[in-house]
């Protein structure tokens, strides 16, 4: 898929994961740190889960690729929908943000048709204090309160205010539950 090589979500100053670490040894070391951190994050999410969101490493056990699920919050056009996301963590995570994409097709002002998300904390506002859970919570709230000032999907941004009913229809049209095995 094309979204994989997209670096749009990366912070401007940060390097892509592959270039961030130069030597193999440092790369490994960094990788280990990232893995450890992600293990801890996972543990934290499992022991104190937040409602409506969940995330888990991909089925091959690679800790740097996660899948996440956001249940559409009530009182939003996305209520009752299960939205899948992919997380790709760089080797120097948490110093650079993860690349987050919607896998489920979603009609949203800040998400383009490839699933790319416009969210500041995934770009320049990223700090290592954020984690997967906070990112997911932010995205969850983004669903109910899109940032229409900087839309990726102009039509959606317009409709959000103008015609919620049509917006809802568009959302339902666009939505497609993906089944993966």
């Amino acid at each position: 898929m094309s979204y994989m090589d997209d670096t749009q979500n990366s912070a401007p100053g940060s390097l892509p994961a592959s270039k961030a670490a130069t030597g193999a040894a440092t790369s490994k070391k960094v990788n280990e740190n990232a893995t450890k951190r992600l293990q801890n994050e996972l543990m934290q999410m499992m022991t104190s889960p937040a409602p409506g969101i969940s995330a888990f490493p991909s089925a091959d056990g690679n800790l740097l690729f996660w899948r996440a699920t956001i249940e559409g919050p009530e009182d939003t056009p996305y209520a009752g929908l299960n939205l899948k996301l992919s997380f790709e963590f760089p080797a120097n995570y948490p110093y650079t943000p993860p690349t987050v994409l919607f896998i489920t097709p979603i009609y949203h002002p800040n998400v383009d048709f490839s699933g790319r998300i416009c969210l500041d904390i995934l770009k320049d506002k990223w700090t290592p204090a954020y984690n997967t859970q906070t990112v997911l919570l932010s995205l969850q709230s983004l669903l109910g309160e899109p940032n229409n000032a900087s839309p990726l999907n102009g039509e959606a941004a317009e409709l959000w205010d103008k015609d919620p009913a049509l917006f809802k229809t568009k959302v339902m049209d666009r939505h497609k539950d993906i089944e993966e095995d």
Binding site: M45, G61, L63, E180
Partner: protein, 1129 residues
Amino acid sequence: MAGLVVASAWRQQRRKRVFQSVFSGEVTSTTAVAGVQYPDPGQGLGGSKLGSGAGHSVDPYLAPSSSATLGHSTPEPQPPHPYAPGNEYAPGNEHQRAYDQAWEVVTSRVALPASAAGPAPGAGESSPGLSLESLTAAREQPQSRRRRNQKVDEEREQFLQCLSLLENAEAVLPEARERRDVIGWYVSQVRAHFAMWVVPLLAGGSDTAAAAAAAGTLAAQGVTHRRHQRNKHSVDSTAAGRGREWSGGSQYDRHMAVVMSTIETLEGALGMYFEGLNSLLEGLRRASGEQDNSSFGMKFKRDIHALIANSASQGGVMGSVKVVLTKLAGVILGVEGLMVRLGSKKGPWGAPPAIPQENDFDVLAAKRKLGGLVKQLHNVGLTGERFEVLFAEVMNDMMSRFVKGAYAGVWAASDPEEGNVVGGAGTAAASSVFTTSRGSGGDATVPAATSSCIKSLKDWVENRYAQLNVQVLSWINATPMSLADLKACQSLALGRLAALRIQELFDIVLAWPDAKGALEDLKATITTTTRRQLLTENFSKALEQRLLHPGCSTLEILQTYIHIIKTFHALDHSKVLLGNIEPGLQLYLVQREDSVRVVVAGLLASKEEIEAAAKVQQIDEDERLQRGASGPTAAAADLGRREIKAQAYSTPGVAGSSTATTCKTPTTRSRQGRDSNPSTPAPAPAHRQGPVLARAKKVNKLVELAKLLNESASVRRAGATDDDQELDWNDLNWVPDPVDAGANYKRPKSEDVIGTLISALGAEDVFINEFTAVIAERLLGDPKSFEQEMRVLNLLKRRFGEAALQKCDVMIRDIQESRKLNSKIRRNNAGGPQPSNIPGQPPVLATPDNKGKSVATPQSSEKSKEQKDTGYHARILSRMYWPAFEKEHFLLPAPILDLQKQYEKGYEDLKSDRKLTWLNQLGQARVELELEDRTVTVDCDTVQATVIYAFQSSPDSSTTPVKKAVDDLYLELQLDGDLIAAACDFWARKRVLRKVSTADGGVFVVLERLSDENVPVGEDAQQGQAVEEKGREKEAATAGPKEGGAKKLSDKEKEKREVYWKYIQGMLTNSSVTMPINQIAMMMGVLVIGGFSWSHEELQSFLGEKVEEGAVEVVSGGKYKLVRKRENV
């Protein structure tokens, strides 16, 4: 005739069997040669010969293996001869007839007798056949015949003439086409005779020997059985008779008799054979005038010896020879006496036993006897290769037995003894050379390693063993021993010693440090990889059998382990051997839950305990000296006594010592229970585990560790620098790394018992965690100084680093801080609330828990106002750094609760943002009880104090003692019933309470006057009560903590299941909608911090539960899938 033929056929078969088994190829080839050589198929009379051969035996030696012909050709003078002259010959062939007549005369003269009487047709089988007597008689016969012949001179003359006629047949009787070789005929005749008569005798001898070997009734049974089996055998009845006769005598005598009779038989037979041969040869010499046929005699002798040697079956006569040789060699080498010592187990333990001197009377007699025997055997040809092999076997056996007999259990490092015998005859020349040190190993650098055992063993080999070898070999004209052979012998003997020591190693370890001599032996002898491997294998096996079983307490195992470490360090500084035997032990220790605890408790043992242990050891030492040297086997015998002593010492050691808080741990408690249980060290199993038990009973802690820790502080500092250096070029004691060392092997310098032990207990953090737990317990238990703990902590820090033991630091600081805080709060409370900013206050790291400690006097709480301020101390624990404590809920006595609240307030004034969580059950209290006739002061824990407080008499009802039931207290205190019962029992033991009834979980009454103790109160007061209560108390004491542990565990487990379930949910939500169990397990393994602790089965059953709950479903391919919740869709 038919009967004879049948019988003969049977015998032939049997003989064939013997021949085939012994030298099958040879016999057939002999007959084949005879067949080719002697009969001449090209002769004109071939047809008639063929006919006669088919009918009767014209030519006896044509078919020497045929019994029928042999039976006929046996030289019976009288019976009608089958080939009387004129029977079959063509009338014109006078030459042939003359030749045959001459042949007849010659052969009948030198023919060998079958027995004294000669077999009448058909009677041969029923008669006892050839017994010793008959054969001897048979030997006599030719002599008597010769005498008769000397008288009847013409017979002899005729014989000689006939012989010369035969010899010169070519010239004299040219017409006689059918000529035969007399010598060849005789040889085959001898063979046939030997096979027919002597071999069965030898075999019979073997049977007899076997029968004799079997004892008593068995022998009789065996004999009858054999008789049934082979009732046609003529020798049988004789053999049976002999077997019965001999079953009474000693085995040696019986076998000696067998050997002697065999020799006699063979001598007789040989004499007979040579008699005939000599007369033949003499006649031939005369006839031909040649002198050269003496060489033929030699050849014949060699052949016949080979025949004898081959016929003497291994299990038969040679078996008896072996027994006899063993006995005689045993006497000569002094092994016999050693066996006696070994059997009685009474020999002195420590010094090698005295070996009988070389010029001892018995030895000399045996030597003479052996000499005679061997020479005789040599004469009859029984000293062939087989004899040499046999002798080698015997000598081999001797060496094993000597080593075992002389050195088993001889472990002391005795001062070098004088060699048993130096010099002596025989190998005098060799012995002077042989005294050079053995050079087969790499131990030349360690001259001190030559222990007394090794020295005496070498002497023995040189002066006794080799000498006997040389003598016997010279008697039988075998290749004599060379100097290299002797060296090989010596190193062989040392190998045996090594094997012995390896067998004994476990006992040697137990006897440490008394068995240093044995270690020296072992050190000097385990020079090859094979031996080292054997050692580790054997020792591991012994460990498993004798130590690593449920019958040994962890303490015993650990103590033995310490001995093992020390022993192996003495044995092999490189630690490679130790490393090889350790895995099994470590694996087992890891399985023992309390092993870490025992080690930690040992490390923290107080000085008092060390001294107590030393005292016990000293007494043991004295006792042993008094009783004389006591072997390891004897150690088991006085097990009972030691045990009693151990108990006597353990009482002051634990209860009296103020720091012995670890006795509260469940493990130690259960061990105390075992100590008082008389059935545990039953004497019967003790003989195997005896030494271990006896040792372990002395102390109930690994005080050795504490000692080592204290000692090693200085030693290790010196050693540490050595360890770092790669190579010390000036180290003259340098030896290369052992061959079986691993790749990354690094030679350690010190024995480092503690380090080895700790590393044996698994991961470092396991040890540290346990250490932390023990330290926590001790810190909470004892209010005084923590010198010992601090010291141990510092020593451990040096080993593990500061960071690993940070928790302990924090804990100790917590306690110290708490003290400061206590006084501060007290001051503040006394002087009213004050501003809470205290300069220099270190930040408390987390929300502190608290443990209340109350010094309360429940009976007199109203009178001491000032005690409220001074008596209440709390310890503030930083939660994250202490082991998790469960909070036990119960209601504190009201005055204490007030104090607690005051304290809490004072604390919160000091540290505004912190809250205290009280752990009431962890405190201690000093209770002063004012009873009617006495005042009791007891230090106890808070639960016990609370319970006794409930018995406080209210002012109005002071006349009658307070009486309460456990169930009432349960409601009153909201405390666990078991704990209440345990506390009541505690007070009952202190003679403060008295149990009057078992109703309502037990009813207790305050014992106001000691004189009331035996007054029966209520219906249940009975004599047996005290016993019952004690039993209950113990039960409660042991059950209490266990239950708590189990509960905690299940809580933990529940928590774990919850977390795992979340993981699985997350996995099935996000990673993949359906997953097989293997993948789930794999993911869990990767993702769960600290590892996924479930087995595949556990996971499966867990998922099965979830399927039942309806949370998960199983879809195609056995994959699991979350059941979609429908509410949102």
